[in-house]
Amino acid sequence: MSATPQQRFEDLAGALRDARQADEQFTLGYSAEHSQFIRFNHARVRQAGEVTQASAHLRLIRDGRQAEQHFTLGNDPQLDRQRLHDALAQLRQTLPLLPVDPYLRLDESPWQSHDLQAQPLPDCAEALSLIEREAGDLDLVGIYAAGPICRGFASSFGAFGWHQANSFNFDWSLFHANGQAVKANYAGQTWDADALVARLRQAREQLDFLGRPAITLKPGSYRAYLAPAAMDEIAGMLCWGGFSAQALATGNSSLQRLYNGDASLSPLVSFDEQVSGSLSPPFSDEGSPRRDLRLIHEGRAQARLVSARSAAEFELQANGADSHESPCALSLAAGHLPSTQILERLGTGLYISNLWYLNYSDLPAARMTGLTRFATFWVEDGRIQAPVGTMRFDDSLYSLLGSQLEDLTSERELILSTSTYGQRSTGSSHLPGALVKALTLTL
């Protein structure tokens, strides 16, 4: 019987402990997944494959110096140990070439964490048959990604963490013949065929609205409702260094005026890094237990995300942030607007299901631009009138979630990241929709 991923990682960590010299310290991260990727176009399989991958991330520390190596692991314990020893040799060669690192700080606590979620995943053929049965007559395009994901961490100080979860993420769009589309997603750890069928049917019903002739809006200021998926794009922009201690200290954060106390958001706005209960491993890539943190409370800045390195550089307390100081489970507190009253409260304006391709047009002013995408509707007197052609917005966060924020929905959506750059992401966000008095459209 072949070894489990955890046994392989423990074996590797053991080999590293054996090879460690008395004056050396190490951290060892581990990441592995077995993934099925099935792409769809026109409700048929466009491309399908399986990927089995595992890698280790070794940081070696000696005499106040540190260097890191990431290396791929195979299926042969002997070969993997050889790669570990090769990495160790290269880092040992490198360290004497470096000056003492003044910002080297380590979490020396021997914390232990073990998290195993092994719910069964659907059979690939079964999932394909279900999708074809429910959507075979539709123009469906998207991807089904599923399989186990593992993350591990060990250090020479005795820390050990293991996180393993089976998960799936089916992310798709349904296209109307006129080019309009609605986007939907079914993701999680417990597969329920009925739940998928319900989501597919809900998306199918939304297609009816998209069949109406689209209207084109002129640039200007509009009342708007931003659904949770659209809010996820805005929240995603804040994850680009917005809460980062380093970015805040060096003029590279979009929230620097908020954290300086020179600006505020609406009292409705409270952001948290809510790791507990999320799909992310409960330990950071640096090897510290993650913590739930209140980042913004009632529109005012609170904690920032502080890595061990930033803690040393800027004389702060590290708080379990990843090395890149980006939230992994950003949560925005719910408001008071029941979802059933969204159209009524919107009255006349834009119902925006998704936003797309955001970027900053003026970073220190938290001014961002982006576009509507998928199922954006013009609403009059609380009734959907017609889909709206793609429009560009350009507006400041201090307006959208500040002076112009009217309410947030009382229900929130848990959005699991669909990112598969390098590996399947474990990130998530938990967000309400937002009703804003004015959204500036520019093109």
Binding site: V51, E68, T72, I143, G179, D262, N359, D394
Partner: protein, 480 residues
């Protein structure tokens, strides 16, 4: 170089399969990242990655399995998984590839100066530390970083039709960035980084101009902090090559990707305002616009002899005299669409399958010097160095921002302005192309970060361009 070839060849020959066609694509990559930030050496980062993708075609249906287990048994298991998956999806498959020819041939491709030794790690760190230390002491200069990334990639493609295609490439990414802040506003200037990378040896660092640049970049950053905002309104726009590359990338490259036009990317990267029927008919830009897919400029990031599906690569005009001629579509897209394309089927590594990507996408030089370009503008603005990019999913409505702006009045460069942004619509923007710089303004640039595909992939793409002038573009600045 190609140390694994003999063993791979032997193991590939020993694979057993009932597939009508199968292939192995082995990729071995190493990378090192060095950085000195605020005069402190950051921990060096190294990576080593190796694995293989096995693809099987069974009754016209293809599937893949990727593995880092390169033993004979490991490769055999992966091939069998690919075959089994091809059978599983057969009843649901979009494509029947029974008639698609298999690539063949044997060829090796190397980066220029691939074997030339690079400076030692200690020398590289010293170079970066010297640049970092050259940033003047000024309390407004709050962050600065000199960096160097070096990647080595070896790939071997073998298939059951007898192909053996290998490439060995080395990529260098030098960079320098400085941020200034007065507590309210902050401004950044950079050199290289996401806007520059080339294949080759140490000469890439020289061509980037990294050595000795820190003082100038810091000075420009402070100028920006003190500068007024870019005025709003229509103006003639002179884009320098380090913004042209982004303009080409987003509003020519992505819309011409054939897999987008065929609908594969509609759920993620998006679709295109270009239709398959537009090729050979659509006037994409003014008659000054000449765009090539050019894998022959040795130093450019995506120069190669064969793409990752084994199609031989050659220079092709995609747009000539403004007329749209052919898409960025690899062998599979050409088979599906019936259109002539280019060799641009590419993957980011062994664990992702090739899809249509940009590679080297260039604008051919025109006949005007930079002085002539500026001299021909009555009221305009020069912009350089991309910092912000946003475009709709059909690649039409865009808004881009640059680090550096400089007004042009009556044919002369005037004052510096900060937060230079502009917006437009691709289908109209290129029609406003009014002047194209000559070879003296032409630069070979590129980025390591082009994202696309499901599952997601990031690849290196090259863009070479002269400076170009566009008439009456909507420009604007920031909030403060």
């Amino acid at each position: 170089m190609f140390d694994s070839s003999a063993l791979l060849r032997q193991r590939f020959a020993a694979l057993r399969s009932s597939a009508e066609l199968f292939s192995l694509r082995h990729v071995k990559q190493s990378h090192q990242s060095l950085s000195v930030r605020r005069n402190v050496v950051e921990p060096p980062f190294f990576s080593q990655d190796e694995g293989a993708m096995l693809t099987a075609r069974v009754k016209g249906v293809e599937a893949y399995a990727a593995t880092a287990d390169l033993s004979q048994a490991g490769l055999q298991r992966a091939l069998e998984r690919a075959e089994a998956l091809a059978r599983t999806i057969a009843a649901h498959s979009l494509l029947d590839l029974s008639g698609q020819p298999a690539p063949s041939g044997r060829h090796d491709h190397l980066s220029p100066n691939f074997d030339q030794p690079l400076p030692s790690l200690a020398d590289c760190l010293e170079l970066l530390a010297t640049e970092s230390a050259s940033v003047p002491k000024d309390s407004r200069l709050v962050d600065w970083q000199a960096s160097l990334g070096i990647s080595l990639v070896e790939q071997t493609y073998l298939n059951s039709a007898g192909a053996e295609l290998r490439h060995a490439q080395r990529f260098l990414f030098p960079g320098l960035g400085v941020t200034a802040s007065d507590g309210q506003d902050s401004q950044s200037r950079s050199l290289g980084r996401e806007n520059f990378g080339q294949q080759g040896g140490f000469e890439v660092i020289e061509r980037c101009g990294l050595v000795g640049a820190a003082r100038r970049i810091a000075d420009e950053t402070l100028q920006l902090l003190l500068a007024p905002n870019t005025p709003s309104g229509p103006r003639d726009l002179l884009l320098m090559p380090d913004q042209m590359m982004l303009q080409i990338h987003e509003s020519i490259g992505h819309p011409l990707e054939m897999d987008r036009i065929l609908g594969d990317e509609r759920n993620y990267a998006g679709t295109s305002f270009v239709k398959a029927s537009d090729f050979g008919h659509l006037q994409y830009g003014s008659r000054l616009l000449n765009v090539t897919f050019d894998p022959t400029l040795g130093e450019e990031l995506a120069s190669y002899s064969f793409d990752d599906d084994g199609t031989p690569a050659s220079k092709q005009f995609l747009i000539r005299d403004g007329l749209l001629l052919r898409p960025l579509g690899g062998a599979l897209s050409q088979y599906r669409s019936g259109l002539d394309g280019v060799a641009n089927s590419r993957a980011c590594g062994w664990n992702r399958a090739p899809i249509d990507r940009m590679a080297n996408l260039n604008i051919e030089p025109g006949d005007q010097s930079l002085a002539q370009l500026i001299g021909g503008i009555e009221q305009g603005i020069l912009m350089r160095t991309n910092r912000s990019w946003s475009i709709d999913d059909a690649r039409n409505k865009f808004q881009f921002g640059c680090e550096w702006g400089q007004l042009i009045e009556n044919g002369e460069l005037k004052g510096v302005v900060k937060n230079p942004n502009y917006r437009g619509i691709s289908a109209q923007f290129w029609g406003n192309l009014a002047a194209v710089g000559d070879r003296s303004t032409f630069q070979v640039l590129g980025t390591p970060n082009c994202g696309k595909g499901e599952p997601n992939q990031v690849v290196r793409v090259g863009h070479a361009s002269p400076a170009c002038v566009f008439r009456q573009i909507d420009v604007f600045g920031g909030d403060a």
